[in-house]
């Protein structure tokens, strides 16, 4: 194995279902204590990779080690190291917080002797002190979500999988939750996050962008914004909106146009050239231009460009 600090090593992973290749030669490492995000369209292969990492699916070929264990040979031992929390966490509404923790502890094989200290740890970690005997049905979203996390980590897994963990949660609870995740990672837990939402992706140390079974980009959020994109992004104010959209989509050097309120976000090949050319181009078509100014790229811009480029490459006949 390559890096001794690596909690997860994936080498040349392939998974086929019949003639369909769901995962196509994927390789990456995740360090102990790292928060690694998986982004990708529906059906891109994210959940297949995660199921293989959990020891729930056998790879067709390639090597996958989790905590030094081979998932193909020791799937049971791998599963004992893993915690999983999905967006639609399955808490029991008519049980209390502690009863839920006890139930999931039993499910994950936490012994009676271990349970007491683990329970106190989970209650403290999730900030549920004082609400131990509250029925789950009476807890607000943010509390439920931290309780679900407590249930998922009661057996002290070294790897934690989160599936859109803060979707629909209010921003303050969401910030508390991510703070908790970063503190947990600081103790050495490796956290995988699967999401469609770029504001969740911003909380990850590194991001893996998966499309059509392949890893198309891997890096920190800042690296992806700086290096994974071709060109730059401009804010363009131009009216009337409908005609301006059509004109911008056909303008030379323009890669992508998205509407934001009364303005456009335009991805261009070369920022300087576009700043010079676009006012003239739009003016010549009788369109009224306001501000045209460079703005920082978002992860969503990176995602959309990578996936569309990948789709275009796939569409060319082989």
């Amino acid at each position: 194995m390559s890096d001794p600090a690596a909690a997860v090593v994936v080498q040349g992973l392939v998974k086929r279902f019949g003639t369909f290749t769901a995962v196509d030669h994927v390789s990456f490492d995740a360090r102990r204590g790292e928060v690694l995000g998986f982004l990708g369209p529906n059906g891109a292969g994210k959940s297949t990779i995660i199921r293989i990492l959990c020891g729930l699916l056998h790879p067709t070929s390639g090597d996958v080690f989790v905590g030094g264990l081979d998932v193909t040979r020791q799937p049971e031992a791998v599963r004992a190291q893993i915690g999983y929390m999905s967006q639609r966490f399955s808490l029991y509404n008519d049980l209390t917080a502690v009863e839920n923790l006890r139930f999931f502890g039993g499910l994950y094989g936490v012994t009676a002797a271990e349970f007491g200290p683990r329970l106190r740890w989970a209650i403290e970690m999730s900030g549920l002190a004082g609400r131990e005997t509250a029925l789950v049905a009476t807890l607000a979203g943010g509390w439920k979500q931290r309780l679900a996390l407590g249930c998922a980590v009661l057996h002290q897994p070294s790897i934690l999988f989160l599936d859109e963990p803060t979707s629909g949660v209010d921003p303050i609870s969401r910030r508390q939750f991510w703070d908790l995740i970063h503190r947990m990672a600081a103790t050495g837990v490796t956290v995988f996050v699967s999401t469609h939402y770029m504001d969740e992706a911003e909380y990850c140390n590194r991001l893996a962008l998966v499309d059509r079974g392949r890893l198309v980009a891997l890096g920190t959020p800042t690296e992806l914004k700086r290096t994974a994109m071709t060109g730059g992004l401009l804010l363009v104010e131009c009216e009337p909106l409908g005609e301006a959209l059509v004109a911008l989509e056909q303008a030379p050097g323009v890669l992508e146009v998205a509407i934001f309120g009364d303005a456009f976000h335009v991805t261009v090949l070369a920022v300087e050239a576009a700043l010079r050319e676009l006012p003239r181009y739009l003016g010549a078509r009788g369109l009224r231009c306001g501000r045209i100014t460079p703005i920082p790229l978002s992860l969503e811009d990176v995602f959309v460009q990578k996936v569309e480029r990948d789709a275009a490459a796939g569409a060319t006949p082989s």
Binding site: N42, W143, G168, D170, I172, D179, D199, I259, P296, E300
Partner: protein, 314 residues
């Protein structure tokens, strides 16, 4: 009649379930051809508001008009002139794309000769013409939402109510979906859409930020951001937790948040605090690549206006 330019007016709208006030004195209006977002976390009152505006749930207090019809006195009038796409839109998975559209065309009494032309036009606009004969059950999440939207548009409504139309939809399909909404808006259709994703709300003309049934803020995203007190600062650094621990407690610094490759925080005076933060990190030998002012997000606004109260409380 209401003023001509307003497609939706909401005045003191209130709805209570048992001991929970789901919607509490909501007041806003939406102009014709505007894309307006109801934004807020689960439980903010978005779906309840949508249902009352769609004429399928009666308010306890307050009034609203949609497309000129009063939702309390004339809910049937509302239903006939708008389209409402709930979170779980009733697509028939065992029918094809074309058959689903035909079904909704019949439901809305569209004449047979108009039907095919309208269906073809809607599918082309959604980029789905080549999926006409595919079973709806075999479409991706984003495609299903676009088909739902096409069905909802079959009777050419003037007002479109969309309840969390992009939940679970990937960013590429989400952009397509918004493109369709903008085309509709330029044709004069008024769109009221809800979302739990605060970043998505940046796409609309105006938004109402909801929290626990109440209206926190209501304006254009750019104006709301410009109104935020203080400045948002991003520190990019390899050890974010060390940065947090060092600058926590600095006067004028609040809302410190560890992200994947740095720290976000709010300062009351960027001019003074940007150099102060750099100096402090250098003195403590904590590595960083930059400390810069960034544009606030809708989430920053939400946190600033809700403050410490209420977020995690039961």
């Amino acid at each position: 009649m209401v003023e001509l330019s307003a497609a939706i007016t909401v005045d003191g709208l209130t709805k209570q379930f048992a001991d929970v006030i789901a919607v509490d004195g909501l007041r806003f209006s939406v102009a014709a051809g505007e894309i307006f977002c109801l934004v807020g976390p689960d439980g903010a009152g978005k779906t309840t508001t949508m249902r009352m505006l769609a004429g399928v749930m009666a308010p306890d207090a307050g009034s609203a008009t949609v497309a000129g019809y009063d939702v309390v006195r004339d809910p049937e009038g509302v239903k006939n002139h708008i389209s409402y796409m709930p979170q779980r839109f009733g697509l028939y998975e065992e029918l094809t794309v074309g058959e689903n559209i035909r079904f909704y065309a019949d439901l809305f009494g569209i004449a047979r000769r108009e039907r095919e032309a309208r269906a073809a036009q809607l599918l082309a606009a959604a980029g789905m013409a080549r999926f006409h004969d595919r079973l709806a059950g075999q479409l991706s999440g984003g495609m299903k939402q676009k088909l739902g939207l096409s069905c909802a548009l079959i009777h050419t409504p003037r007002v479109l109510l969309l309840d969390e139309p992009t939940t679970g939809v990937d960013p590429v399909s989400r952009r397509d979906f918004w493109r369709i909404l903008y085309r509709l808006a330029t044709e004069g259709v008024t769109v009221l859409a809800s979302t739990a994703y605060l970043d998505e709300a940046e796409r609309c003309h105006r938004l109402a930020l909801l929290h626990q049934g109440r209206l926190l803020l209501c304006d254009a995203p750019a104006r709301l951001k410009a109104s935020m007190p203080g400045a948002v600062v991003a520190v990019t650094a390899p050890t974010p937790a060390a940065v947090r621990d060092e600058i926590q407690g600095m006067p004028g610094v609040s809302s410190i948040l560890v992200v994947g490759d740095g720290v976000h925080l709010v300062v009351d005076d960027a001019e003074r605090l940007l150099p102060a933060i750099r100096g402090r990190l250098r003195a403590a030998a904590i590595p960083f690549s930059e400390v810069v002012r960034v544009a606030p997000t809708i989430e920053d606004l939400f946190v600033a206006s809700v403050g410490g109260q209420g977020g995690g409380a039961p």
